[in-house]
Subunit: 160 residues, 2 copies
DNA sequence: TCCATATAGTCAAGATACTTGACGACCTTT
DNA sequence: AAAGGTCGTCAAGTATCTTGACTATATGGA
């Protein structure tokens, strides 16, 4: 009946949202730490979320805003930071005077390569922990869910 | 070969971390929106993350700090906000003059009840989307992973 | 062609959610 | 009772994200 032990062994929430949140945060933290340890000190979880939407061959900034679940101003500020770090660059779109094309610098592409390696390492560790079968089932279920988020700054996002 | 269409159909990342992140963010957004719609306007995702660690019968603040993956000052500030909203209350620990016991007010317990209902609704929708079997496999794999995070402000968290 | 309207990006200001550092109050151990 | 650890707090700063207002460019009719 020791109170201290009680508190440490007390049951945590055990529903899908909680489990997803815990797993996601743990993965992000592990990945970001490994990236920073690999020499990419500019790497943060917020920036990672944005970079995930930027294909290797670049993307129009407006399309990036569409895909991200954050406001266009937030995207802009993150891009400002990434550009200042020399990870991405914004070039004028020759086909549209309003538009900017967001692409990686060579520094950015280097980071992507390290990121791919780290992802595989983490994945291997996960497979080791829960087995191939469970891991495959996890990916399968997550793909089937195919969740997507509305854009924060977009008032009409609810209308299908 | 329309560029616009290309950008919208271009493949997103498809690794475990990305999928977890997308699923987690979508769940959180859905849950928080439903909570606010249910009259709990004070509900935010950051606060939700903390409340998840507070059992119905309360917890010592120090234990809460232990469990959360954020600094003790962050926990404190979130508690300050929740206390100001009348959701939780901090009482002195009769057994330790330094310690505070964090517990729910009746308003907080009301929110927990609504939260439980909303969780089940979302879960039902997920099961409808991917089927019982996939959903069970998802929960099973996430439980097996049993991820946990180190505390941010704790320098010695790495030492086992 | 010219105007109305929509789209792309930016600038500015502010809120929220964190961080590190310093500190006072209390407990425990010797 | 003195030393050192734990618990909570105060203060200040940073990163991330929001809303609002604005400019420049494109588009689609009248």
């Amino acid at each position: 009946m020791v109170k201290e032990l009680d508190e440490r062994t007390k049951a945590l929430p055990d529903h899908i949202g909680w489990r997803l949140w815990q797993a996601s945060r743990a993965w992000q933290a592990e990945f970001a730490a490994a990236m920073r340890a690999a020499g990419h000190g500019w790497f943060t979880e917020a920036r990672a979320g944005l970079l995930g939407h930027i294909a290797r061959d670049g993307i129009r900034q407006a399309a990036l805003i569409d895909r991200s679940a954050i406001s266009k101003q937030a995207v802009q500020q993150l891009l400002d930071g990434l550009e200042a770090e020399g990870v991405v660059q914004r070039l004028p779109d020759p086909r549209d005077g309003r538009s900017k094309l967001v692409g990686y610098t060579s520094k950015g592409l280097d980071a992507l390569r390290d990121g791919d390696r780290i992802k595989l390492e983490i994945e291997r560790r996960y497979v080791g922990r829960i087995g191939h079968q469970r891991f495959a089932a996890l990916m399968d279920a997550l793909r089937a869910l195919d969740t997507h988020l509305p854009n924060a700054g977009d008032k009409d996002a609810e209308v299908p």
